[in-house]
Symmetry: none
Subunit: 205 residues, 4 copies
DNA sequence: TATGAATGAGACTTCATTCAT
DNA sequence: CATGAATGAAGTCTCATTCAT
């Protein structure tokens, strides 16, 4: 059973993804969520607060994410990196709407609260990459030390660029669900392949 | 000397980059451009048409871009690819405002005219990559055939992700103009490095 | 011990004095009084009824006021007048918030119930002045017969004008509690002085 | 010919007088002034700015007021005082609506801009009274030095109290235009009479 | 070609009150 | 007695566009 509050939240997320923050009116949201217009102010205070709540909600969901990875000691650095990327692509694939909003906000930098959340997330990823690479070099799992910023840009940029192009390719190649699944699988392998090269990782050592 | 029309256009571009399409009012644009409000409807028909005009203007600028590359016969495929990427990163670096708008529009897909322009651009790049790779393979310049979509996502995604993260890094590393120039240079080399690997290109053959 | 109803009443009085009727929301009142919002409708029926209740409450308090004065037979007319004025200034001084609301309502004439209460009060005072003056003239305590309306306007107008200006003077003369007490004492004497003249009352006859 | 802006201004003044600031909606104003709702924002910026404009407008009107009085050298201090009071009562009589609003604002102190204007006005009057009394004492026109604050409270308070009570008296005494004119004339004499006493002015000296 | 006054739609938000519990 | 979720009306303001000049 979904609460009235979450019902509004998810419908708003969908509309914000489609039309952007300014392009979505609370009237539309209320209609989509089948509630009275004033319910939005009632539950969230304002349209902007509702918007921020979406970020808080999704970011809370992904909190456990980073912790798990670093903590686990049964894997070597490469394997950990793979886990991070797998989860990342999975999450992006399953929460397309939210990540659409998120990308737009990254280009906007208008809402301070959200800017802070996004920067923390980015810095969090950089920190993970840093630790994994340093440790991997010490343990001779990796043999090259690439520039951190570009590692992140390559991973994250490739994933999002691929995500955003998917609808066109789907249309162009007349693809269906199967096409999409294969697409994400290939994307995942592509990124791993690039990383192997950039980090100087040799599989069968 | 800049025409009144271009004056409006450039000021609008700046404001759209800062605040998005819906977040920018024609009153702000008219104030920024020091013209009367009704001039915008007068010159461009409507706010939306003005927005589209920005895309047309910038895309016209980059039209010659692709043609040049393919036409030139004094370079091999790898060299051509390098030229494409150099120009691309240069352009992104120098037209940050426009590419901010463009990225946002790629996430939005609301204005059909713009969607068409953007898709054509994307398909244009895919076509260039396709021709270069096929030809390069035939001429034994390249030795691997990577999936086209991911080549594009990697190049374009990495560039934009790096562009968007630059302000944070600049702040974090207390960087200045010099930092920025070096950043773009390194980014360029990073992408070339990745492509070399993905295409199986060997420099000193 | 104060009842829940009175608790709401007094908090509402305070807020109405600060922000006016329309400027005060029942939500604010409920927060200030630490009760649930719906308690106001529950106890008083509506926001407007609550407002009227404040007037009824304060007017009930001052009901005995007039009666006492007329009834007492140990004083002559001048002494009775002095008692009336003393009580009036005291009351105004101690119930500043209510008299702020009252003055505003006297300027507004929107709520019929309140209009009636206020007019009765005004007419009550006029009646008292009339009786005291007539009787005083008959008994040769007073020697002049001033126009009744202006007697009331002068007394009441001076008191309220002085009350309302007090904050400014306090600020201007950097006054404290002592300043305020002296101010009201002087005000009282000032009014008596004026009345003596207007009524032709001679103290040491 | 009255401008559209003034048309709005005067209609707003009337409604604010009847129902107060919060009690008057811009929709009502626009209806009363026969203009579109958005005209109010268009001309004045906001409802509050419109409200302030009314004060500015009326205060500008009365600017010449004080200057004239002090400047003229053909009158002695008592005659000057009479002129001040005559003009004051005239003005109050003819601009009942505005002075209704003004009194309410004096009780409210919410809008800083208006508070400032009102305090300046009050201090201006105090200054005039001060100069006239000091000069009058020096020139032996007056023989008593009453407390300044109460002089002002008595004059201003009596006038406004009488103004506000007029409708009731008019109703009670079944008065018409003639009653009103006589009322203001008597009021004027009443105030002069009181002042004569308070200042120790002897007419036939 | 250029202006700026004027329009009407639609935006977000707050409010007093009701109703089911 | 008491709660607080829910409602719908009404409020102010901003906006893109039009029109007379």
């Amino acid at each position: 059973m979904i609460s009235k509050e979450e019902n509004i939240l998810f419908n708003a997320e969908k509309l914000f993804a489609e039309k952007g923050f300014e392009g979505t009116s609370i009237r539309e949201i209320s209609k989509e969520a089948n509630v009275n217009v004033s319910m939005i102010s009632y539950y969230f205070g304002s349209k902007e607060k509702l918007f921020e709540k979406i970020f808080e909600f999704r970011m809370n969901e992904s909190l456990s994410f980073a912790k798990d990875v670093i903590a686990d000691n049964k894997m070597n650095e490469w394997e950990k990196l793979i886990v991070v990327i797998n989860r990342y692509t999975d999450r992006v694939k399953n929460l397309k709407t939210f990540y659409l909003i998120m990308q737009r906000e990254q280009l906007t930098n208008k809402n301070e609260h959200i800017v802070k959340v996004l920067n923390e997330s980015k810095m969090g990823f950089l920190e993970i990459y840093k630790q994994l690479i340093e440790s991997g070099l010490k343990n001779k799992v990796f043999t090259k030390r690439p520039r951190l910023e570009f590692i992140h840009s390559t991973i994250s940029g490739t994933i999002f660029s691929a995500l955003n192009s998917l609808p066109i390719y789907k249309k162009f190649y007349k693809g269906d669900e199967k096409y999409e699944n294969l697409y994400f699988e290939d994307l995942n392998n592509h990124i791993k392949n690039v990383l192997k090269y950039l980090l100087g990782y040799e599989e069968n050592k």
